[in-house]
Amino acid sequence: MFKKILIANRGEIALRVMAACREMGIATVGVYSEVDKSALHTRTADEAVFIGASEPAESYLNVERIIDAAKQTGAEAIHPGYGFLAENADFARACQDNGIVFIGPPAKVIRDFGNKTVARKMMVDGGVPVVPGMTESNLDAKRVAAHAEEIGYPVLVKAAAGGGGKGMRIVNAPSELAAALESAASEAKAAFGDGSVYLEKYITNPRHVEIQVLADTHGNIIHLFERECSIQRRHQKIIEETPSTAVNDELRQKMGEAAVQAAATAGYVNAGTVEFILDEDGCFYFLEANTRLQVEHPITEMITGIDLVRRQIEIAAGLPLDLKQEDVTARGHAIECRIYAEDPANDFFPSPGKIVCLKEPTGPGIRNDCGVYQGFTVPVEYDPILSKLVVHAENREAAIERMKKALADYVVIGIKTPTQFLADIIDSQPFREGNTLTSFIDTYFPSWEPTLPDKDLAALAFIADGMAGKRVADAVAEGPAEIPLPWQTLGHWRL
């Protein structure tokens, strides 16, 4: 097993990987940019290496500096987390060329799946159903328009290189196509360094259901059931759950087998996710494969009892999977809410800034994978994810109640977060009924405003606070930098 691993990421996912390493007795190396000098992941690693300026290209996307940091500290492997270099085939190749193990699939597999059009071709060849659409990316507006006519509107413009909704546009009419292509290409180029886009048939009333797979270097491939990820805003997931209300045992098995088939076709190794579009008739189509740990991996961990990050590291170290498909069972119901720094009442605008007050929910069946702390200034340069709040309970109804309680207990002051919005969704009739289509937010919460049921109590609290005497020192935005270190970061290293 590795003695030291470098984590080429930041925020909650870097913390998640470091926690697994500690339990496995593996030392951790963190890397950080200028603006992340006091970030939680920087503080939590056994060693922290500065890798450059705040712009991602200068630091977290800088292959050379990250490889250098690994060599300098003697890290034998690199875990890329998600985002940044996680699905960058050149980075995986660079690791290999420098004798460092990349904790993820081989570079070729990343490249094949990373290009959505290549992936689609590969899946067609492997007998995995795909959404009708272009099999190559093309920026010639006329030819794309011809394709769109052929597929039929509405169509979806997608980035060939990306994921997570970046560089994606729905186009309902020919007149909108040119603008959508340009803005999608620009966003894709900024996010992934590759502005290629392509078209797909836009399936109406779809669900987004994905299958987790694990594949080792010895040819064993298993799936770990589905995740329902349809609740999205701006094409980014905000609530995920498992099992899906739309998947019965038969469909689960079919989708699981298709996902294993997809992985086998591609020569997949390590943890990966096969995303499917599920239509109203229970037909499903390959959408894309995410060749890395998924943001929402904890819900699968909670229903299967399997530690995906530990498995990733074991697979990367060449260990065989000691699990067969029949060993994997799902129990109970898990839900994840993504806590972003954003304002749900204002078009989900990002809300960077200083976290003046942070109270995290705790309790049986509650897990909060958090990458920030009270007093930390959430930078403008990176993804707005602060934490992932995950609950597990005996059944969907109990999980919903648990999530409601956890969201009510989650306090973030100083920046905007969607906790109230998420609580309203979770508690809504359509959600309770399982109507989790990708159109959910547009249909049921087209414009959300916080209800303020307790304003009288708030007024009484205002007065009580004044009478209760001066607090010692509020961590106001202008106040002295307070950097409390959440205690889960206690290092394990000894002299």
């Binding site: 803005s183 620009s186 966003e187 990002p350 707005p384 009510a408 100083g414 303020l452 007024a459």
Partner: protein, 179 residues
């Protein structure tokens, strides 16, 4: 004692009596409340209202306080206290009549130069925050009289990125230092 509290545009007048160490009574909207409280940390109180306990987070903010309870967040100000401080800062932001980012952001692209004629709704600047691009549009027909930013700049809400003079206005261009 009369408190004139305000939440956004809602007036919340509270009549407070029987103030003692750690308790008071209050009347709001003809409803009576018996309130007890104890500070449990710098920014938390345990408040008991008519026998029901609830933890509350209270943090000072600008002229008022942010209060979290039962999973909801409230921004309250004391109008009496407010009267003594400068007012009107907020109203300026309400109408998008200026080219300013809605959040701290980085300028990705500037589509116009000084002297350009622009029409209402025309994209003039693209900013990016947390990997999300947002396009800022011309708020009315006019002429660009100044570009106050460059690509890569970090900008804040309230920063006027592009000065535009309305076409139907007479006189010389306003603002626009071209810095």
């Amino acid at each position: 004692m009369e408190y004139k509290l305000k939440m956004d545009d809602i007036d919340l007048p509270v009549d407070v009596n029987d103030v003692d160490d750690g308790s008071f009574t209050a009347v709001m909207d003809d409803q009576e409340y018996r309130v007890e409280f104890v500070r449990t940390s710098d920014n938390t109180l345990l408040m008991t209202v008519n026998g029901r306990q609830m933890p509350v987070v209270v943090v000072d903010k600008d002229d008022g306080k942010t209060i979290c309870l039962n999973g909801c967040s409230y921004e309250l100000v004391d109008e009496d206290a407010l009267a003594q401080s400068v007012t009107g800062r907020k109203s300026a932001r309400k109408m998008p009549l200026e080219v300013t980012p809605p959040m701290p952001a980085v300028v990705v692209k500037i589509n116009v130069s000084t002297g350009d004629a622009v029409t209402e709704g025309q994209p003039v600047v693209v900013v990016s925050a947390m990997k999300m691009e947002t396009t800022l549009y011309a708020p009315f027909d006019g002429v660009v009289t100044g570009v106050n930013t460059a690509e890569g700049d970090k900008v804040m809400p309230g920063d006027i990125l592009v000065d535009i003079q309305k076409t139907d206005e007479a006189g010389t261009p306003q603002g626009g230092d071209n810095e």
